[in-house]
Symmetry: C2
Amino acid sequence: MDELEQVEARIRSSLNRKESLLTEICLHVIGAGGKRIRPGVALLSFKAVGGKKDQKIVNLAASFELIHSATLIHDDINDLGEIRRGREAAYKKYGVQKALIAGDFLFVRSFRLGGTWDTQVVQIVADAATAIAESEILQSSHEFDPSVSQKVCEKIIEGKTAKIIEAAAMVGSYLGKGSEDQVQMLGAYGLNLGMAFQIVDDILDIDGSESQLGKSKGVDFIDGKPTLPLMFAMEDPRSGERLAEMFIRREKTKRQVEEALRLVKKTDAIVRSFEAAEGFKSKALKNLNGLPDSIFKESLAHLAEMVVARRK
Amino acid sequence: MDELEQVEARIRSSLNRKESLLTEICLHVIGAGGKRIRPGVALLSFKAVGGKKDQKIVNLAASFELIHSATLIHDDINDLGEIRRGREAAYKKYGVQKALIAGDFLFVRSFRLGGTWDTQVVQIVADAATAIAESEILQSSHEFDPSVSQKVCEKIIEGKTAKIIEAAAMVGSYLGKGSEDQVQMLGAYGLNLGMAFQIVDDILDIDGSESQLGKSKGVDFIDGKPTLPLMFAMEDPRSGERLAEMFIRREKTKRQVEEALRLVKKTDAIVRSFEAAEGFKSKALKNLNGLPDSIFKESLAHLAEMVVARRK
């Protein structure tokens, strides 16, 4: 799909500024790759409802990646994540001050790209971006809380990841002139895809390889961040209590973290989490039923399969 | 002007969300007052060209204050500013993590308000917001640099403060259906007003009272941030060299800072800086010449006078 290349070019042209250090920091993060799920979903949703070539969808897809990258840079500052997309985190390489500003710069540049959208699109995107901030606050209010509920865990995932993918699918299909029904169904697809994606990401934080993740492992446990697999593991009748005790410690040695991850893997938490992810994936696939057959619909289905198939 | 009250109401309604901690953090900063120069300039420029009551201008004015507040919260994280608008800085009260997210939330909410603007307006606002980020980077590249030029100092001020006030004046008059000439002249007014405002702010950091400032004093000197008065002082034939030596120290005691500020005040730096501010003020007043007489034009002129009249 040559639009994806156009999106990359648009991202780069958006960031190309005189104060080249800002450009450099942003490209350090964006140029490192990443799965481009948000722009991909936006473009595929656009095409799947019959959207024809259009500069707007390229801008839109690019702006989703800019927002996403802004949140990654700011997240790493907040979580002290050391590795991102296989590279040193921006704040480690350039300092907190400059990384913070680079994130702001990305928000503003994505806003500028949004100048060509209509009110409804802006509101959907902005509300999804708002949900990211709200979910961060919700997550931090449950930090080191071993008795967090499945409902809260899912609400965190929804705001952090699923809502913005929902928005990408909705506005992609909206710009592609999909019917109201198609926009709603693709939105639901995006939401379910995002849920599945984030659950698998949280599994990989326990069970994945760092090279696959492109970031450090075990960080959720270290930071006391409730995720679905950690929550399931702390429900385990045998190891749950011990894990909870370890989870709530503010300081954890490398050895303790390794021991904890081993314990988690002995419970049914990974299996239960994959089941949950599979459940969201199945819903996502069903959400595609109403679309006419096309290679774009197939790609959306394939994406849902891939997201859950990621394993070490 | 009852629009200013509407702006306050719009700011509050934009921030009113379920995750009430975000609302609380933002209102801690926004509710503490502040001079509301950006919304004020936007509204007055709108009215000065004959703009009639319109929801768009209220949204626009509110969004300028949201962007400004976002940068204040993030600035304080970066500069370790302890007091803001007479209150404890957000990051001190709520922690860096939550303050960082609250700033992002403000950016996004301002973006959402922008959904009702046209492309040109979005681009002017986004470019001005971009200039803020770029100016921060420029400033940080000259940190602890005693030989910074007047040109660079003015470029920093321009990006940090003047460009966004220029944007407020331009888009205010644009939405008010001013002529192209009026939009340009009011833009120039905003730019010059912003330059004068920031220079006086930088003077007050040396020569003001903390209660007037609503923030700590001497922070530019402590942080090694080049400002016009500090640059002028370091040019002083008698004390310049000694000041430069003190300026470049990464660690400064309270006593050293007090001594430095006393030294600065003995030079002609304050007078020269006020002259520079007066120069920009005069230009700003001239930029208003082409406008029809009205209480709004008078208020804009009055604002320029007030900005320079601020003294301890």
